[in-house]
Symmetry: C2
DNA sequence: TTAAAGTTTCAGTAAATTCTGAAACTTTAA
DNA sequence: TTAAAGTTTCAGAATTTACTGAAACTTTAA
């Protein structure tokens, strides 16, 4: 499988960025390849297209499956496994977001909760705990907010986003209305 | 400088998570230390508290300055540099968000734009380009939306967040209103 | 102006992560 | 049942990233 120049640089770029997005180079390349390739790919095709070892592909697929980004597809009469991305791009973006929250935020929330269980021994620690409390509250708020938005259906979410900072106007309006109601 | 047990585990946790958040272990520990320590710290104090080399602290400070998270503070009659976090925790969260967008998203947007400049040579490439266009549009929408929210003042942003998925109700209401106006 | 105190840099080393490839394991058609 | 095709695992090699510590540089008080 030969990649066109444009395809090639797209795939390589996702490799470079991969580490910033929570996976390693080859995993980044793999998901990029699957996204721009309409048909499902076998592990061998992936290895060939990216010039990486068969073992590495297998590791990468496992990783992408743990991210819920890739799934197996079977072709009748062919016992090979073929892999494709799960859902459309919107769905994938949501999934990546959810998984990153789970991996990057949840462990911290749970550490903070346990630290905040008991109280401070001295002034210095009191300040530290106060900061931890603030961080906890902030993260929790962001988490709940994003979870509630993520539960909207794509179209709705899209119109909310289009509104942008315009929400505030709607907010003011809502306040005015609910006041006049009383 | 000796750290209490709670402080210690907070700092170490930020070290572990650091890599998932875009910096390395010691940089993560450093920012955690500064956040829970009320007074500004000298490089030597940081090195001692974390048992890391002086050179490493210097590197880490440079990194945190490039993230706009840490600034120098001078104490009259003392020629040493002391370091503190920039702004309150809300401000820091915004800054981290902005910097991560800049580092994790902008390069991809710009690659996609350049790829989309010219057209496809064949069907396979046409599909690839179509996917790239979709990714581009999606990222751009998210970017603009988050930028517009980030421009709100903290209190406003907070009430928008508290509203959560409730925005949709307000949205419907707004639609009804603007229709009846016409 | 100088020397002591403070700060930064960076070459080399250490540690962590990623990748390869061969061996072990699994599946299925004959 | 077996052997060929397909798949997965994992120990060690390669690569990348982080860290140390000593040397170079900068600042300032005398």
């Amino acid at each position: 499988m030969k990649l066109s120049t444009k395809t090639q640089s797209f795939v390589m770029h996702f490799g470079e960025m991969g580490s910033k997005w929570g996976f390693n180079r080859t995993v980044g390349q793999m998901i990029a390849l699957m996204v721009i390739h309409e048909k499902a790919l076998s592990a061998d095709e992936i290895a060939e297209a990216l010039s990486i070892s068969r073992g590495n592909v297998s590791m990468g697929i496992k990783e992408l499956q743990s991210w819920r980004l890739v799934q197996v597809q079977h072709i009748p009469g062919d016992r090979k496994d073929y892999y494709t991305t799960v859902g459309d791009l919107w769905q994938m973006a949501r999934t990546v977001f959810e998984e990153r929250m789970k991996r990057e935020v949840e462990p911290t929330l749970s550490l903070l909760r346990s630290q905040l269980m008991d109280s401070a021994d001295n002034d210095k620690e009191a300040y530290a705990l106060q900061q931890m409390q603030e961080i906890h509250d902030l993260i929790e708020m962001l988490t709940q907010w994003s979870a509630s938005l993520n539960s909207l259906k794509p179209e709705t979410l899209q119109s909310v986003m289009k509104l942008g900072a315009g929400v505030t106007k709607v907010l003011e309006f809502k306040n005015k209305f609910s006041n006049s109601e009383k």
